[in-house]
């Protein structure tokens, strides 16, 4: 090929930040790929999309999208996004962050944003550990797994993230792995257009650390695990969707309608202003 090779999604990447820092076999690049594919297929105005991310490997994603981007402190991406969305509701604010950032340090902000049914999609890259800092355990690390802070095996039960999201009030809950690229893209599109709080858990390989520490040395090995263990089942009970080495239940779990925070806020403000007009307190 002698002509200039330009990837069809090049315009969605922040040129001077590419190449990204992610390892060979890491699934974060796939999440980036699916995300910008979704933006492209929906033809959303990139000037009106804000990507907010936290600290961690996946947290670097806001640097790579050619959108308004903010890289917050650890765990606070959702709280930051709350401020952005409420201040400028016409913007499409998306949170993309990791399992530790969203559910350990950021757990409180997650459950409240879901409870409020805030109009933001949250995409969680779940790689079962804290990758950026070298592979420590996190709230989604499977029982018995080896990580650098569980060298004798993990003795903590992990979260079932789809259950947590559903129980907190999210109106759209889905789980995919980085193997399910097309369906993940479709879910992202759904989440971007849905009113209310959407949550997508993406199981992603971390072959350098979690994988290597737990007998899956390459990205291909981890993807093979996903292939073997995934089972697509839509609208099953999220409470029964714990991830085990044998089974990763994927699909859409919840897709319901509930008035969003934005809608209720607008109604409240309209009513408050009407009352003032009538001279009432």
């Amino acid at each position: 090929m002698s002509e200039e090779l330009v990837h069809p999604l090049e315009g969605y990447l922040r040129r001077w930040m590419i190449p990204h820092i992610w390892c060979e076999g890491c699934g974060n690049g796939i999440i980036l790929n699916c995300f910008i594919t979704a933006l492209n297929e929906l033809k959303l105005d990139p000037n009106k999309v804000v990507v907010v991310s936290g600290i961690g490997c996946i947290g670097r994603i806001s640097g790579y999208t050619n959108t308004d981007s903010y890289h917050t402190t650890h765990g606070r991406a959702i709280a930051f996004a709350t401020g952005v969305k409420l201040a400028k509701p016409e913007l499409k604010v998306v949170v993309i962050s990791g399992d530790g950032d969203l559910f350990a340090i950021g757990g409180n902000h997650f459950i409240h944003a879901a409870r409020r049914n805030l109009d933001i999609p949250v995409i969680c890259a779940n790689n079962f550990n804290y990758g950026m800092t070298g592979g420590q355990y996190g709230p989604t690390t499977p029982l018995d797994a080896w990580t650098t802070t569980t060298p004798h095996g993990n003795v903590e039960h992990p979260f079932n993230l789809v259950h947590l999201a559903a129980a907190s009030g999210a109106v759209y809950v889905a789980r995919w792995t980085t193997l399910h690229v097309r369906r993940l893209t479709e879910s992202i599109k759904r989440a971007l257009q849905k009113e209310g709080f959407s949550f997508i858990e993406v199981i992603t390989p971390c072959p350098e650390l979690y994988g290597r520490y737990n007998k899956m040395r390459t990205g291909v090995d981890m993807m093979n695990w996903f292939k073997q263990a995934s089972e697509i089942q839509h609208y099953s009970d999220p409470a029964k969707a714990e991830i085990t080495p044998e089974k990763i239940l994927v699909g859409e779990f919840i897709d319901m309608e509930k008035p969003s925070y934005g809608r209720l806020l607008r109604e409240m403000v309209a009513q408050a202003q009407r009352k003032m007009g009538e001279g009432n307190r």
Partner: protein, 92 residues
């Protein structure tokens, strides 16, 4: 009557399968192997050459076998491979 199965679709001569051009941005590739492993038609394999990063980018074994599913493009974490439908107006 014994069941006869036609394997070749009856309108095979009229329907044209899309033909693909596979473009590989060699120096972006990290050699993760996802595209090679997951291509449903085994169109890709590791090349012998080394790119700027010291990885072996993929190479196309037989572009005519490619069905333009574009899974490689969708699953590449590094935006190193993409497909384009070949313009077959003049015959492919």
């Amino acid at each position: 009557m014994p069941l006869r199965i036609w394997r070749k679709p009856l309108d095979a001569d009229k329907v044209k399968l899309p033909r693909a051009e596979i473009h590989i941005i060699k120096d972006r590739c990290k050699g993760c192997g996802f595209c090679i492993e997951l291509c449903p038609r085994d169109v890709l394999e590791f090349s012998e050459e080394l790119n700027e990063r010291g990885a072996h980018p993929p190479k196309v074994t037989d572009e005519s076998r490619c069905a333009l599913c574009s899974f490689c493009q969708a699953v590449c974490p590094d935006f190193a491979i993409f497909t384009v439908e070949k313009d077959c107006a003049g015959g492919c």
